[in-house]
């Protein structure tokens, strides 16, 4: 839910990175954090277990610049991907303006991708959203691994509407900012339309 402060001339939007466990959601945020100038970012908050698995969420605020005199800030969140953290995922989706689904391109993770995508649709619905109507981008991560499925095969299984699809290797940063720009543009375009 976009927060517009006319007094301070700010637009604040929330983007959530979603996907199965170990697909690269946190890695996306870490790369964005490391690659962003200090003046354009806040702290990266990671609520994680001792083994660095996301426990509740990762969060970082990002300032993109000014449009029509309004400072545009995006709050980026990731959800915990492990199956049993569903209650937390539902909470973090509240107030979302745009979603990035990070799919793990590996052959053996396809079932997990499908289950997580179904989970996303259900949790969006329970928060009053429709995946077919909100800003949404599909990222195919880990494209550098040897056991990845062809892009066409993953897209045919996971694509839900005509959402942009971005190939990525989040560990090296490839495709990370393209994905972010893609969803951010959709969010701002939606703001303009609505």
């Amino acid at each position: 839910m976009t927060f517009i402060n006319y007094a301070s001339r700010e637009i604040n939007c929330k983007i959530v990175y979603y996907g199965p466990g170990l697909c690269g959601k946190t890695t996306n945020l870490q790369y964005i954090y490391d690659a962003t100038a200090p003046t354009a970012k806040g702290k990266l908050i990671s609520l994680a277990t001792e083994t660095d698995r996301t426990l509740f969420f990762d969060f970082m605020p990002l300032e993109l610049g000014t449009v029509r005199g309004f400072k545009t800030r995006f709050h980026l969140y990731t959800v915990p991907g492990q199956v049993f953290y569903d209650a937390s995922r539902k909470l973090i989706l509240k107030g979302v303006d745009g979603v990035v689904f990070v799919a793990d391109s590996q052959d053996e993770r396809m079932d997990a991708n499908i289950e997580s995508l179904y989970n996303l649709e259900e949790n969006l619905k329970s928060n009053g959203y429709d995946l077919l109507k909100i800003p949404y981008v599909l990222q195919l991560n880990k494209r550098d691994l040897p056991n990845v499925l062809p892009v066409e095969e993953i897209v045919s299984e996971l694509r839900r509407k005509d959402e942009p699809v971005h190939e990525a290797v989040a560990a090296t940063g490839s495709g990370v900012f393209d994905t972010l720009k893609s969803v951010a543009k959709q969010v701002l375009t939606e703001l303009r339309k609505s």
Partner: protein, 160 residues
Amino acid sequence: MTDTPIIMHEEQYQQLRHILHKLRLDSFSRVVFLVDKNGQQIAVQGDVGELDTTSLASLAAGNVAATGGMARLIGEREFPTLSHEGERESIHICIIGRVLLVVVFDDRSSLGLVKLRVKQASRDLSVLFEEIARVAAERKESDEAIFAEITDDDIDSLFG
């Protein structure tokens, strides 16, 4: 059902700051801030210093969301207040509709005093947010006109 956006204008923002300022003084607290339930900071008053208020806002909202989930599991609608006591500084959070009032205080104050003043301020904030919603509905058309002027080039320019 999704929430309608919170749209705040100058005069309301000043009223809000006044309420928070008064609360901070009356409760002898260090910092008072208002956060929406999605984690966006709305306003802050007080001795912020090096405090990362953006992160604190997000974490406060996450805290409330998590404990709200626990409340529903045991049959409660929500826990309307949360308090965290530290060795030197403490935090008190109060849910007011769609926003959270977060008070950071030390031994210059007390939990009892903070709770009392928060209760008083929450009444003023409830009234203010009702007005914000009413004004937002009335001014919807003129506000939307500003964003309707955003072009594709405006959006593209954000990404260099």
